[in-house]
Amino acid sequence: MNNSFGLNHIIQFFLFVALQVLLMDNLALYSMGFCFIYVAFLLYLPLTINRVWLLVLGFAVGFTVDVFYDTMGIHAAASVLLAFLRPHVLNLLTPRDGYDSSDAVNIHVMGTRWFLTYAFTLILLHHMAVFFLETINFQTALYTMAKTLLSTLFTGIVVVIIQLLFFSPKRERIDYR
């Protein structure tokens, strides 16, 4: 993984949004578990990305999904929240000797425990925002919580699977240019 925002991430943006809109839209477990895989785009961004830039990207990806889902603003709000919280979560999870310059969001590099804590915390917060903004009221809070938990599990597992399949275990990618 490169440590700066590049073509790689732009491709990921379109890939994840397409995956979300074309495929994941039709998948729902027990009509309660939803997969919002587009958050993976925000999760996989470089560790040292500028905070303001991250917020703008969060808004962009959320808004794009909103346009397809006719949920004006809901996914954008949740994604901006995720983008805002991400640096804080990263701070909390700093390894003992700080982040290396070659560190990236990669399950092989950072270790399973680090990655699972990082991914599941952020996904949980994002999904909670989405589902509570969707219902607005708190009368069905229990049902909404159940939906949030199942969906977090679903999205989290897909995020981990994508890591295991497509991210190389090498610490630094060899640049052939």
Partner: protein, 288 residues
């Protein structure tokens, strides 16, 4: 002044965050009540093209079902047509002597036009569900028109672009549809409360009527959106809660929203006349 700029610079991430969240909340609130031309939603031209492409592929997998529905609808329509033809053959008023000739009463003609359209995007599992159809202003679709399928009521047009339109599905937490019991014309309101997409709630049926399981619920025709007598569903459960003066009635919807592929948009040619009359007389029209 410099301190102020330094302050803003220091907390720029937080301020941008606040700004974007406020923008999002504004969008959410505005879109909930918004009806009109489409900009940033699935009726948007480019978004519509993507969804059109997608449904172009997935439609092939449902071709058998679609054909079956269309064939059975054709059969039903043919049967109705046959009855009418029989009736006109028996009725000989038109061939009578010219003195007795009664021209067809134009007020009996139904003011409704139907426009068939393909569904290119659909959802049933969210709290607020929408459909996208591949017809827009170019085909005469306007916001506020009703949408029905061969099996019953589907929803109402929300926003339109030139070639696409979004439909607020009956499965929307703020959608209300005026309905009545077919057997005794008691009217109530259909609403959906989330969860199962096969059942909705029929509210405001007073306690003196005796609804039974299996009774048919149809649209009331008390507004200009839907014609009278369009199927909504059948009663599946009746509860009488002690602290309420109305029944809580569960209705099994006749439309399978997960299987929608073709719908009809209902255009009421008398809509404007009726709406303006009701508004001028001070009757607040039921917006749904």
């Amino acid at each position: 002044m410099r301190n102020l700029f330094a302050f803003i610079y220091r907390f720029r991430a937080f301020l941008v965050f606040l700004l974007l969240e406020v923008l999002c909340i504004f969008l959410i609130v505005r879109y909930n009540t918004y009806q009109g031309a489409a900009f940033f939603n699935s009726a948007n031209r480019y978004v519509g093209q993507v969804l059109d492409f997608q449904s172009g592929i997935t439609d092939y997998f449902r071709l058998t079902d679609i054909n079956q529905t269309l064939a059975s609808e054709n059969a039903a329509l043919r049967q109705e047509l046959m009855q009418f033809r029989l009736a006109t053959e028996i009725d000989s008023t038109a061939t009578l002597d010219t003195t007795y000739f009664a021209p067809t009463d134009s007020s009996l003609a139904l003011p409704y036009h139907l426009k068939a359209s393909r569904v290119i995007n659909n959802s049933v599992r969210r709290m607020n569900n929408y459909l996208t159809i591949a017809k827009g202003t170019a085909d005469g679709i306007q916001p506020g028109m009703g949408v029905v399928s061969p099996h019953g009521v589907v929803g109402r047009i929300k926003t339109v672009s030139e070639r696409y339109a979004t439909v607020t599905s009956l499965l929307h937490s703020q959608m209300l549809i005026s309905a009545k019991l077919q057997k005794d014309n008691t009217f109530g309101t259909i609403k959906w409360q989330g969860g199962d997409y096969r059942t909705a709630l029929l509210d405001y049926i007073p306690l003196h009527v005796k609804p039974e399981k299996g009774d048919t619920v149809v649209t009331s025709g008390f507004n200009t959106v839907f014609p009278e007598g369009i199927m909504v569903g059948t009663i599946s459960s009746i509860e009488q809660e002690p602290d309420k003066s109305f029944y809580t009635i569960g209705v099994k919807l006749s439309v399978d929203f997960a299987q929608l592929s073709y719908v009809y948009v209902v255009e009421n040619t008398y809509k404007q006349e009726r709406d303006s009359l009701e508004q001028n007389t001070g009757i607040i029209t039921d917006e749904q």
